[in-house]
């Protein structure tokens, strides 16, 4: 049996409300909330970045897996906001968590699906027998240009998954990826913020890739939507995942637990992985989970998980996603937010 042996998630405590961003730009907050089903988003603290978020999530994953960090043979961090253009994020993480140095480390990038990519490769290496454990992480302090539609959603958070073959808490039954050259969202070198092609990011990008990945995954597994207790899809806003889930045949009830975006925002590479973590926090042994990520450019990775009896033993060993989402929040106004996100440029 191959799959997740330990998982963890992390969200910063800071939040900004849609109203505060809308007020800054003279936008209609109610229309945005209605249209995007977004209410507030997480904001990374001044001393937080993709690496610190990854460390926090991976620490929780280690606590749940209860394994010797030295046994981890690979560490992959997927993000579109790696703090360094040249220097791997994972090297700092292994040093902080006592992993390695006999370990394979890489940074992944594929817009919002870099996290599921890290999970897929980590799982594949363990399944191939190359190592006992591998760690796959999706984390981001995602960026939206001031005044752009993305500023209402781009948030911070992440989730980490240790893949292994013993004491598996969620077995991976099937996977399926779907990828094409679709330029819906990108950031070129030397640009501060990503650019996107408006509604082109919807139908021909998000919907096409998730739908095709999801449909093929169902066909491959011979399962139907009603076989699943939970479903989670990449969450660029509140509306898209509900639409694509419905199109694939899933109900609102199946998607409810993983649908954390209205109060979290889009954690990019951490989006569907944090949704998965929220599901694992409550899932019962035997439950099946359907997950499809999406990354612009564009591609989707689909997974089918089945939760095992082990889940009951590990879920209370580390912080849960919903607790981090609902409690101890510190609200920022736009000025503080601009400072936190380093949008205020100072002289040297």
């Amino acid at each position: 049996m191959y799959g997740i042996v330990g998982y963890g998630s992390y969200l910063p405590r800071y939040r900004i409300k849609v109203e505060d961003i809308a007020k800054q730009w003279g936008a209609d907050a109610n229309a945005l909330k209605r249209g995007l089903l977004l209410y507030e988003k997480t904001v990374p603290g001044l001393d937080e970045d993709t690496i610190t978020i990854s460390v926090e999530a991976a620490r929780s994953a280690l606590q749940r897996a209860k394994i010797d960090p030295q046994k981890i043979g690979a560490v992959y961090i997927g993000s579109e906001s790696h703090p360094y253009a040249v220097k791997p994020s994972g090297t700092i993480l292994i040093d902080a968590l006592g992993i390695g140095p006999h370990v394979h480390v890489a940074s992944y990038e594929f817009a919002c699906k870099a996290g599921s990519e890290a999970m897929y490769v980590a799982y594949s290496l363990v399944k191939a027998g190359e190592m006992d454990y591998a760690l796959g992480i999706g984390a981001d302090t995602s960026q939206g240009a001031p005044g752009d539609a993305l500023e209402y959603s781009a948030s911070a958070g992440g989730a980490a998954f240790i893949m292994g073959k013993e004491k598996v808490v969620a077995e991976i039954l099937f996977t399926h990826s779907y990828t094409s050259d679709t330029p819906d969202f990108w950031r070129r070198e030397h640009e501060f913020y990503p650019r996107h092609a408006g509604r082109f990011t919807g139908e021909p990008a998000y919907f096409k890739h998730i739908y095709n990945s999801g449909k093929s995954l169902l066909e491959k597994s011979g399962m139907i939507p009603s076989d699943f207790q939970f479903a989670v899809f990449h969450m660029p806003n509140g509306k898209f995942p509900q639409e694509v889930g419905k199109k694939l045949g899933f109900t609102k009830e199946q998607m409810e637990v993983g649908w954390i975006v209205p109060w979290m925002g889009n954690t990019y590479s951490g989006s569907s992985p944090t949704g998965l973590a929220a599901i694992l926090d409550v899932a019962k042994p035997g439950d099946k989970i359907f997950m499809v990520s999406f990354g612009s450019g564009a591609g989707s990775d689909g997974f089918i998980f089945q939760v095992t009896d082990e889940i009951e033993k590990v879920r209370n060993l580390a912080p849960k996603l919903r607790d981090m989402l609902d409690n101890d929040k510190i609200y920022l106004d736009y000025g503080q937010y601009a400072k936190f996100r380093k949008k205020i440029i100072l002289n040297e």
Binding site: D28, A31, G198, R199, F200, P204
Partner: protein
């Protein structure tokens, strides 16, 4: 000048045509029109497109389209009059056939607006760059000023403006090529996002990709083709000040009333003789003002007319049976030609659910900018 007929039409779906390029869209519409008409060649063509340079970086549109349609070396000319580019292309083709210079001419219109350009900025180039755009105004803002002034002078209500959008969406729901085929309610319009007070999102025509083409031919050619055709009864064009603030009135579009007077005189008809009209409803207020300036309603009564259903398909004068720019979509250069196509389908009895009964004369009014240019045609069933 000899009589000229419209002998065939072709149109693409309007909307976000992600898979089709600027040239693909034009070629699709043109091939449909050529096939629909049954002609074995075209002598020349005119293409209306407002701002292909800003939208997709392509100028020299006549040559591009002749090349990709496979009709080179025939003469092919791009015609531009902002949102009235399609109407202007049609008028140019009409003159070429009427003069006897050519027998069969294609008039098309096309716009590809969703390829990533700043659409509002590109469209604003149809206003006065030095005295309007420089100060930050865009088209929703200009039409909002017309609406405010109009509502002040004539006590027209917000609901009456919304009635225009509701009616056009209802018509568009019956048009298979329309961008938005969903009926909307008065409440939805009133609650939609504010764009430029008092105009809300559902008062505004959308950003669209789309193409339309028609084949014009001499009456002799038309008769030989043995397919449904209509006659071009009259054609007029006018211009006005480019800037809204230079006009005598904000609540009347002089370009429309001037062109209307000319076209009715030429056709020897009166507004009451018209069976239905396609008008340039880039914003709901535009339809209200235009229907008055065309002479269908008294000044100040256009909103009330829409509210009372007088402009519905079964009303006194059906307006925008196609769904108009609001619901059918507004790929700028294609709009004027799409209006002619609606007239062709209505006058040849091919409009299905939205067919106007006993349609004899159709009027198509195409307008550029905030009313700095206007082109009107009257088409006749044969």
């Amino acid at each position: 000048m000899r009589d000229v007929a419209v002998v065939g039409v072709g149109i693409t779906k309007f909307g976000e045509l992600w898979k089709d390029s600027f040239r693909d869209i034009f070629v699709e519409a043109s091939l449909k029109a050529i096939e629909n008409s049954g002609v074995d060649h075209i002598d020349s063509m005119y293409i209306g497109t407002m701002s292909s340079g800003l939208f997709v970086g392509q100028e020299h549109v006549g040559a591009v389209m002749a090349d990709y349609l496979g009709v080179a070396p025939i003469p092919a000319t791009r015609v531009e009059s902002a949102c009235a580019s399609g109407g202007a292309a049609f008028r140019s083709a009409f003159f070429e056939v009427a003069s006897g210079h050519s027998d069969i001419v294609l008039a098309g219109g096309v716009e590809k607006m969703t390829d990533g350009a700043d659409v509002t900025e590109a469209l604003a180039t149809a206003a006065d760059q030095e005295y309007e755009v420089y100060h930050g105004i865009t088209f929703p803002g200009l039409y909002a000023m017309i609406a405010r002034s109009y509502m002040h002078d004539y006590k027209t209500t917000r609901e009456q403006l919304a009635a225009v959008a509701v009616k056009n969406h209802k018509n568009g729901s019956m048009n298979p090529n329309a961008q938005f085929r969903s009926p909307i309610t008065l409440e939805q319009v009133m609650k939609s996002t504010m764009v430029a007070n008092p105009l809300r999102l559902l008062d505004c025509s959308p950003v669209s990709d789309g193409g339309a083409a028609v084949i014009l031919a001499s009456l002799d050619v038309a008769k030989k083709l043995k397919r449904p055709f209509i006659k071009i009864k009259a054609s007029s064009q006018s211009s006005d000040t480019i800037a809204l603030h230079s006009r005598e009135s904000l609540t009347s579009l002089k370009c429309v009333s001037v062109a209307a007077e000319k076209v009715f005189k030429q056709a020897k008809l009166k507004p009451k003789d018209i069976s239905f009209a396609e008008v340039h409803d880039c914003f709901t207020i535009a339809e209200v003002v235009v229907t008055e300036d065309l002479g269908f309603f008294e000044k100040g009564k256009g909103g009330e007319a829409a509210e009372k259903g007088m402009t519905a398909i079964d009303g006194k004068i059906p307006i925008n049976t196609s769904g108009g720019l609001k619901s059918k979509g507004h790929p700028v250069g294609a709009t004027g030609i799409a209006q002619i196509i609606e007239c062709y389908e209505q006058l040849t009895g091919q409009s299905g659910e939205r067919q106007v009964k006993k349609a004899k004369y159709g009027l198509a009014q195409n307008m550029g900018g905030s009313g700095a240019s206007c082109i009107i045609h009257i088409l006749e069933a044969v």
